[in-house]
């Protein structure tokens, strides 16, 4: 292996395909809640994400708030992943997905069907239903789901080729809440691109997801609501690179007892 290969995440990324597309970074970055459009722009430049997520909202004829945001997204020239945030039924999510496909000119859709307000937990029944309909209509669905393996199987059967389990409730910053579940998902679906979506709070959480073998991490609140969004965006960029490199490097297993790291052979006898 060339030295440059061993220090780059390129080979990690090239092995991961999201509906036939290779990302330039395992970091997916949300665009909401930044203090200003300029800080969002700077954060995207610092994070160098493979994808930015976007959404749709009602547009007034006079305000035209969406048009300025659209100009910013075009300027950043990062692939967009529209979401169906705020949808509580499959029907609503399906209609939103159609609108997003027309506005953003992409078949990619981050499918959210929310089932519960306190945790923003996905309604997995509505999610599977919407995923089936949208997949049949040519959408490339990125479903925001839980780590439930049965639901995951049903999403794949519905046509999804990517799964996005939550790390913790959206915006909670709690990190990877169910390590066992996320590990089990990785082990159960070795060939499916998996993205931890939601709940990440600090860069070490993102690195941990990559170390587990996840293909990408989607982060929004942890960057946008930090005291210095631009600096932490850079930190997240470095963290996912570290995590990807660590995964490639085949880390040691943890163990309960110590093993000496310094060889004892040849140790001087000093007593």
């Amino acid at each position: 292996m060339a030295v440059s290969d061993s220090f780059s995440v390129d080979s990690f990324l090239s092995a991961r395909s999201f509906y036939g597309h290779t990302l330039t970074s395992p970091l997916m970055l949300g665009t909401a809640q930044y203090p200003s459009p300029d800080i969002l722009r700077q954060a995207v430049l610092a994070a160098k994400p493979g994808v930015v997520t976007v959404s749709l909202r009602r547009e007034g004829a006079r305000q035209r708030a969406g048009q300025a945001f659209w100009s910013l997204i075009q300027e950043l020239a990062v692939p967009v992943l529209p979401n169906t945030a705020g949808c509580y039924t499959a029907k609503e999510a399906i209609t939103t997905a159609h609108m997003a496909r027309e506005v953003f000119q992409t078949e990619w859709i981050k499918l959210e069907v929310i089932g519960e307000q306190d945790t923003l937990q996905p309604d997995v029944f509505g999610l599977v239903e919407a995923a089936r309909v949208l997949s049949q209509e040519g959408f490339k669905v990125f479903p925001y789901t839980t780590e439930d393996l049965v639901v995951a199987e049903k999403l794949l059967a519905a046509g999804c080729e990517v799964l996005m389990p939550w790390g913790a409730p959206i915006g909670s910053g709690k990190g990877l809440n169910n390590l066992f579940g996320l590990r089990a998902m990785r082990a159960h679906f070795p060939d499916i691109p998996l993205v931890v979506d939601a709940g990440v709070g600090v860069p070490s959480h993102a690195a941990q997801a990559l170390e587990l073998g996840y293909d990408a991490v989607l982060i929004n609140t942890a960057v946008a609501r930090a005291g210095d969004p631009v600096s932490i965006a850079r930190a997240f960029s470095l963290a996912v690179q570290a995590g990807a490199l660590a995964y490639k490097a085949d880390p040691i297993e943890s163990r309960d007892m110590a093993t000496p790291s310094t060889p004892v052979v040849g140790k001087p006898f000093l007593e």
């Binding site: 665009t31 997520t53 749709l56 547009e59 969406g66 945001f69 979401n83 506005v103």
Partner: protein, 66 residues
Amino acid sequence: MMTIFVNDETHTVSATTLAALLDELGYGGARIATALDGVFVPATERAKATLINGAKVEVVAPMQGG
């Protein structure tokens, strides 16, 4: 004249199609998507989408999202 609800706001308009409504309200040239009574209407179909009194129109545009 008809009463049409656009994003839950009441408008009295002379337009009889969705395309004409968007022009009349000043959306011309904006990057938007539309739904009529909860059903997505592609841009290419707006001129054929007939409005009736009390119709509910949704007009959306790009927005920040997570």
